[in-house]
Symmetry: C2
Subunit: 457 residues, 2 copies
């Protein structure tokens, strides 16, 4: 069957297996690109049903993972947070089933005519939204990530290589089998569109497959995403750090500034769009700092201030490292700045280009702040926590991207699509449009859909 | 001034220099993002004027490059083609000046409101087109590439790191100085937006700067572009191979098929969108092959056929390697296929996902061909040579991308842009939309432009 003995290298059988899997995913992707939205929807509901109907099997497998993880926890190898993320409670399963149905119900990201342009009489160009092809994903602990990414990939017509953490291997295997079987019953869905990857060596192999895997979506810590980015030429959609800022301008409504700074830190401190550093204009520092410090203290937020902050309120001292730290916790650093430009300068130096908000009643100053910063999201009088695919109205969230190319900030299903040009002609030759007496192009956009062999105009 | 002696490594001074240059480019990019189209246009016309007014200086420098290159040619180190590409004739200078003015006149790719969406009352989200930031480019021999890329970068508000080939160093230096001086006279254009990079070690350093350079645009041979892709984590916009196909279907108008196959090969054989392999359905092979073979013979096109082709026409034999060779010359490989699916299978196996065309009077078969292929451009009854930014009506062509992410196929100025989210609120908190009694979002798109501090609805 296989020539695993071809070399003495132990990696060979694994490499072969991953090769076969990527082959199957590539082949499936070509077919999946042409599956109707109705069929993709039906298949997604079948996945939701399969998970809903097999809770016991899933939870048995999950219990085995959790048990093993708890042993590692006792041995000091794993954290409690990891064990918590691993657990598939009834409520978690409810939300997984609900999520798959919600992805099924999203608008179809495929087939849309992005541009229709007449190049010349009877020569029509259509730019169409199509799937990217083969998406690779590598994620840590949470087994719900497997289902979510598979659902997003299927909805957007992409094949997917799923590599989960070894700590969730039993859960992942059961969930993957349910997904595979549920879609295998749908003739319209090509076999092989989803592939489970289990060996760590396979990840290394996948990172090298820049001619076969079109996009990587790592999920995990900043360090983990950075590791992936640094070790592949495949485009990566993911987010590393979220060092978000709120700037309380000299023209701020200070009550509003207190509410926003509180919401941005306290509403959910563990996430990437929570504020880490509060910048306060010196003109309002004396009035504002006691107000926000009191509010933070009541919620047990640890405040670390620069010298000027500490002249006004009694808080711990911030070190240089604080300005570039993503706490992910109830800790906030505070700095008094001389001017709007100082605030912009601080954010440019220490920020991670994720989300920044200015609190100001002065529109011009807000405009300058928003235009001058090279962050994916810049807000005026709103909490940084709004930086999220659901709140932005993007439908299903594929992820948040800290890259600037292809997809930026919160990413919806269109982040899993690209485009393709279809040209309908009638024997048109380029020679007609070149040489001494070239025929001119008309280049006129129009409303129309691509229909094979039919000209729209 | 500099601590070049910090280590014994000779690369240090160079590294520092490139570091300083990237610093300046990054700083300039933040300002350049907010320069009006009128100012960018005026600066581009100033560049065109400067080149037009300093032809002698340019040609003197170019003569030195050409002379040195001709010595290398005699020594067998350079090819005649390289020397030809190097030369800046009067006509070439005319076309450079014309090109810069044409880029100036393009529609502004920046500032467009891509989406305006009300999230809730008085909470409005705007997705705006913005420059990418710092673009790095590495190109071979042609000094006109320096001007073209600088012009495209300036028009789209990006800073640019320009690294040309050493064979064009004198020409590049003069052209760069003219560009720098011409834009330095415009107060609106930030100094430092364009940087000339000369040392080869600087390229290596640039490839590592994935946190500071946002996009790379290599120009040169497939091998050269592949080398760049394989040695950086920075996204690359460029094209490697163009192995394009024309498929003459059993339902083809054979006269049309002859004209298109001829145009696709002969009109300009050296370019990436020229056809390399002609696939012919067996049902029409006997009638079609003698017809196209005669036509190709008259234009001195060398035909290399598979066995079945050679049973019908007297041509050279194609080897396996021919199917994946980009000739870039008056050579074409020809294969007889059993079916439409065979044609699709051949292209999927050997193609480079660039451009493919089907000649057929049957709309369903054309549709299947176009849908099933994962190529950037798929044509029906038209020459592959139409795959080009100018012909597609994209305005200035930034390049052709064989990647699938961000920009695909012929790329216009929008390939040098990304987007940014601006959110205008009135003290909105995420806590309002969470918890037990969450307020719902409205999520309604509307027509409106972002104006700082002003709500559109």
């Amino acid at each position: 069957m296989s020539d695993t003995d071809a070399t003495g290298d132990g990696a060979v059988p694994t490499d072969q297996a991953i090769d076969t899997k990527v082959d199957a995913a590539e082949t499936a992707a070509l077919d999946l690109a042409n599956v109707d939205n109705e069929d993709r929807q039906a298949a997604l509901h079948a996945i939701a049903d399969a998970i809903d109907d097999n809770r016991e099997a899933i939870q048995d497998a999950n219990a085995a993972d959790v048990e093993a993880a708890e042993e590692m926890l006792e041995a000091g190898e794993y954290t409690q947070a990891l064990v918590d993320r691993l657990k598939l409670s009834e409520a978690k399963l409810d939300s997984i089933v609900e999520m798959v149905r919600s992805v099924a119900g999203q608008d179809d990201p495929l087939g849309e005519t992005l541009v229709a342009r007449e190049l010349d009489e009877d020569l029509e160009l259509y730019k169409l939204a199509v799937p990217i092809g083969v998406v690779g994903t590598v994620f840590e602990s949470r087994p719900d990530a497997l289902v979510q990414i598979a659902a997003l990939a299927l909805k957007s017509g992409n094949s997917v290589m799923l590599k989960g953490g070894s700590e969730a291997s039993e859960s992942n295997r059961v969930l993957f089998e349910l997904i595979r079987e549920a879609t295998a019953d749908h003739d319209a869905i090509p076999e092989g569109w989803a592939q489970l990857v289990e060996a760590r060596a396979d990840v290394t192999a996948m990172l090298e497959m820049d001619d076969r895997i079109d996009l990587l979506m790592p999920r995990g810590s900043s360090e983990f995403v950075e590791y992936i980015q640094d070790n592949t030429s495949i485009p990566v959609l993911g987010h590393t750090e979220g060092i978000c800022h709120v700037f309380v301008d000299r023209e701020a409504d200070l009550d509003m500034a207190t509410e926003v700074a509180f919401d941005a830190k306290v509403q959910y401190p563990a996430v990437c769009n929570a504020v880490e550093t509060l910048l306060v204009h010196e003109a309002v520092a004396e009035e504002y700092l006691p107000q926000i410090a009191k509010r933070y203290a009541a919620a047990d937020v640890e405040v670390r201030g620069d010298e000027r902050t500490r002249e006004i309120v009694d808080v711990a001292a911030a070190s240089e490292a604080d300005w570039s730290t993503e706490y992910g916790d109830l800790i906030v650093s505070v700095k008094v700045v001389d001017s709007l430009d100082d605030a912009i300068g601080h954010i440019t130096t220490y920020g991670s280009k994720h989300t920044e908000s200015i609190i100001s009643e002065d529109a011009d100053r807000a405009g300058r702040f928003m235009r001058s910063l090279d962050s994916a999201s810049v807000f005026h009088n709103a909490s940084t926590r709004f930086s999220d695919g659901y709140r932005f109205g993007l439908g299903a969230e594929v992820g948040i991207s800290t890259g600037k190319i292809h997809a930026r900030g919160p990413v919806g299903l269109e982040g899993l699509t690209t485009y393709k040009y279809h040209l309908e002609g009638d024997g048109h030759l380029v020679a007609t449009y070149a040489g001494d007496d070239p025929r001119p192009f008309t280049h006129e956009e129009f409303d129309g859909e691509w229909v094979p062999g039919k000209l729209s105009r």
